[in-house]
């Protein structure tokens, strides 16, 4: 089971899988036989991230903040407290910080040292967030990174990058799209994308969801 079976050509996914399948199964067998783990508990962890914990949790916070000024104030003051006040059955991680996009400032979240990400409100981080291109470039060429996502901002807009170097976790509160003044909180949740809460995207426009 040496590491030299790894294929360097496709580092993020793909070619190493059959080898990894064997190695991971073997380790699970060893740990189960030793009594350290319960495979049913492992099933539950996987199920939680496949079905329950995802960007819809953050989307709910954003849509509420767009429609309820008092909630927005609380979210920006203490996002963990505000998120837990909505009564979700899944707890929100401690030290969650919401940062607000405005016409003057666009926020972008990264973890250059590993892949810290607000799992409790966005679910599992996508592969690109954990990749070397994003981690290396977000802080030195954020406009280039935004261009990779098809996002262009006015040149005078300040771009503020938050490098998640401690256990604090950042959630971007994007700007409410124009033309949604009469929309309900529930309708607005459909406009909030995962990337808009990381800062690599903008919320959908009403025209995009109508399509």
């Amino acid at each position: 089971m040496a590491d030299d079976h790894a294929h360097p050509d496709d580092p993020e996914h793909g070619s190493e899988l059959s080898e990894m399948d064997v190695r991971v199964r073997a380790l699970e067998t060893i740990l189960t036989e030793k009594g350290y783990i319960d495979p049913a508990a492992l099933d539950k962890v996987v199920e939680m991230y496949e079905t329950r914990i995802g960007p819809h949790i953050g989307g709910r916070l954003v849509a509420r903040a767009w429609t309820d000024p008092e909630f927005k104030r609380r979210l920006l003051a203490d996002a963990t407290e505000a998120a837990n006040s909505l009564g979700s059955s899944d707890p929100i991680s401690s030290h969650l910080i919401a940062v607000e996009n405005t016409p003057q400032v666009h926020n972008l979240v990264v973890c250059t040292l590993c892949s810290c990400y607000p799992w409790s409100v966005l679910g599992l981080p996508p592969v690109w967030y954990k990749s070397a291109p994003y981690r290396s470039r977000a802080i030195i060429d954020p406009k280039g990174v935004l261009a990779d996502f098809g996002v262009a901002l006015p040149p005078e807009t300040e771009i503020r990058i938050w490098d998640s170097t401690a256990e604090t976790r950042f959630l971007v509160l994007p700007m409410r799209p124009a033309g949604t003044e009469s929309w309900s909180e529930e309708q607005l949740t459909a406009l909030v994308t995962r990337d808009s809460m990381v800062g690599t995207g903008l919320p959908k426009s009403p025209a995009e969801v109508a399509r």
Binding site: M1, A6, H7, P11, E12, H13, E16, L17, M20, D21, V22, V24, R25, L27, E28, T29, I30, L31, E33, K34, G35, Y36, I37, D38, A40, A41, L42, D43, K44, V45, V46, M48, Y49, P91, S94, V110, T112, L113, C114, L124, P126, V127, W128, S131, A132, P133, R135, R137, I139, I140, I159, R160, I161, D163, T165, A166, E167, T168, D195, T200
Partner: protein
């Protein structure tokens, strides 16, 4: 390992960011099992999250770069299991347990998995904070051979304290298994030009979350 490949902020040459439309939670079944094993073994409490990160940073740079995220986690977990004598190399080679496990205090159940305990890294402050919002600070030039969360690109650079985040477990100490050693944590913001030079885009600002031992008055 401080100055290793994981500290990649500001490097060139990795190419464009490629997002995958409608990306699934896991691309292969084993990835979910690795995440879950990591959770279950972490739950036992034999190592800190910082020790876990340190074990990934200790991977040889070429292994780090050519491994996917979950493969890295798997390699780090194997290392930790062996170094804590929970399993042996010969058992990994055999693909099965060759002797009884050691007694552990806790074991993750399905119910624990469904209601994970909240991890809170904030701790009572041993003393007053040295800095306040608006203070100018300089990040120290440190190069420890052990774990740190002060990235290379910020070392020696001058920035402004934007927020005081409370007193938190200090990763540099916790990674060594030497206790929480609580330290004040600050959001420190740097201009793009301070970090990247006069040619940098004046519209860019970068903040790090900096523990007090990383900072000096500027």
């Amino acid at each position: 390992m401080t100055n290793s490949i994981h500290d990649m902020g500001g490097m060139h040459g990795f190419g464009p960011v490629e997002a995958e439309p409608d990306e699934p939670p896991f691309h292969e079944k084993w990835e979910g099992r690795v995440l879950a094993m990591q959770r279950a073994m972490g739950f036992i409490g034999l190592w800190t999250i910082d020790a876990g990160r340190a074990s990934l940073e200790a991977l040889p740079p070429l292994d780090y770069l050519r491994s996917s995220y979950y493969r890295r986690w798997f390699l780090g977990l194997e290392r930790r299991l062996v170094s804590h004598r929970l399993i042996g190399e010969e058992e990994i080679a055999a693909g099965r347990s060759l002797r009884p496990g050691i007694r552990l205090n806790r074991k993750l159940t399905a119910s624990d998995a469904e209601h994970p305990p909240l991890t809170n890294f904030e701790r009572p402050a041993p003393g007053p904070a040295r800095f306040k919002k608006g203070d100018q600070v300089r990040a120290k030039n440190i190069n420890p051979a052990t774990h740190t969360r002060l990235p290379r690109y910020a070392r020696g650079k001058t920035g402004t304290v934007e927020a005081v985040r409370g007193c938190h477990v200090f990763p540099d100490t916790a990674a060594l298994g030497a206790g929480d050693d609580p330290q004040w944590l600050y959001t420190v913001v740097f201009s793009g030009r301070e970090l990247w030079g006069d040619e940098a885009d004046p519209a860019v600002k970068v903040s790090i979350e900096a523990f007090e031992p990383y900072l000096l008055p500027a």
